[in-house]
Subunit: 267 residues, 2 copies
């Protein structure tokens, strides 16, 4: 049954609004995703929201109808509300017409099946939610398995990261751990750990990468700690002809990931 | 001579603060860049600020000293101020300790030397300042000549775009024009226009690209208009194995630009 909420001070509205803060997301184990496109990607990846908010104008699209029906059928809470309340929930003036509340999707390393894909991304102390979401989107595009977050990374379930992932958040396995735990896990099975670095002469197109390849990307400002580079099976560098001698972290990850993919695909 | 400003209501502070708005940037032909790293990149690319703000704590670094001395020598206005006023200028709580005000750097197409580089990026209706800055940074890395903005793009001199470019804004030629004018200019000389598209079967690693290559990237949400795709000499697609079937615009540009670079470089 569809509930109707029109009051700003409604308890459900307040609670969902609070999911814009990491503290509340963590406590509730829930996060927000916005917009027909991302919610549809989620559904296609098998994820339905626990709560689905829509405004009257947003319900007309067949995909929106499908989401509403399926969310109800799965026992989710479907709520018709006003555009103003949607704006309040999303924190944007021009809100999306659909907002979903999802159970968070963190996987523990011992549940992660490394052989599910030949490409995995490992991010260390990544700080920008846009970069994190963009890396998830790239990982989806190259057929990667997912993203392993090491050390103190930005929350992958922040509204900005979810938005930048364009739905790839729901297709990708996401784990969060510490460096030592990651290395211990990695060395229990097959896997080549590749770091990009300026401290090597090996061009990134020279080695033949072995699957599963774990591409390690460092913090936006600091890059990888030296000790982490030493743990890598291989350090490679991308050509940089410019003066700035650096690439955006999500861009460097993508250039590397497409090289690994290109080595393996039939053309 | 170094001026000292400590008052929030100082006219210079107000004027520089107003450069955070596009309207004022356009009227004054000036923009803001922040932080020792970006200002140093600018200086190495031959650009000194017309005004340079620093707080006492930020002046100790030899590179900061160099900037202060050279800006004064070039007749720039060097201003020592407080961390609070720097925060006000930058709009961030945790402001950079150096802020420069630069003359904007738009080039007209008829002044652009297409043979200066084998790779150029052309962006159409790009809306995200982070993407724009990231594309400039990538263009710098691949030895590209610069960025041609077509139709209604985000302002390349916005604080966010300047920040994301990490200084590449100062190494790259930037032009802004309309589509018809761009095409007319392009066809007056050598140049291959390459669009990435889902409406083609040609893999992006199949063609040998001809220099100068103009890589055309479309709006984040809409992609390229069909008429623009038809004008391309070649449409190519990147493999996308995932469910989302899309890449971030700056990522797609980078993967494409590295392919062009890789075809040309000696390894």
């Amino acid at each position: 049954m569809i509930r109707h909420i029109t009051g700003f001070s409604n308890e459900t509205v307040k609670r969902v609004r609070s999911l814009r803060d990491k503290k509340h997301r963590k406590r509730e184990g829930l996060f927000l995703a916005e917009g027909l496109r991302i919610l549809t990607e989620a559904r296609e990846a098998g994820a339905l929201p626990e709560m689905l908010f829509f405004a009257h104008d947003g319900a007309g699209h067949p995909l929106a109808q499908g989401l509403i029906v399926e969310t109800e059928r799965a026992g989710g809470d479907v709520i018709e509300t006003t555009p103003d309340i949607l704006s309040k929930l999303s924190g944007k003036d021009n809100a999306q017409t659909l907002i979903g509340v999802y159970r968070d999707r963190l996987t523990s390393l011992d549940q992660l099946n490394r052989n599910a894909s030949g490409i995995w991304i490992v991010a260390q102390a990544l700080r920008d939610p846009g970069n994190l979401g963009t890396i998830l989107r790239t990982s989806d595009a190259v057929g990667g398995g997912g993203l392993i977050l090491v050390d103190d990374c930005v929350d992958p379930f922040s509204v900005e990261a979810v938005r930048a992932s364009m739905g790839a958040l729901f297709t990708q396995t996401i784990a969060a751990t510490r460096w030592d735990s990651f290395v211990a896990w990695l060395r229990q099975g097959p896997g080549q750990l590749i770091g990009t670095s300026l401290r090597t002469e090996i061009d990134y197109q020279t080695p033949r990468y072995e699957a599963p390849t774990f591409i390690l990307v460092g913090n936006e400002a600091q890059g990888l700690p030296a000790a982490y580079e030493q743990e890598c099976d291989l350090l490679v560098k991308m050509p940089m002809l410019g003066k700035a001698d650096s690439l955006n972290a999500a861009v460097a990850t993508a250039v590397m990931a497409y090289e690994v993919l290109n080595q393996r695909r039939a053309r």
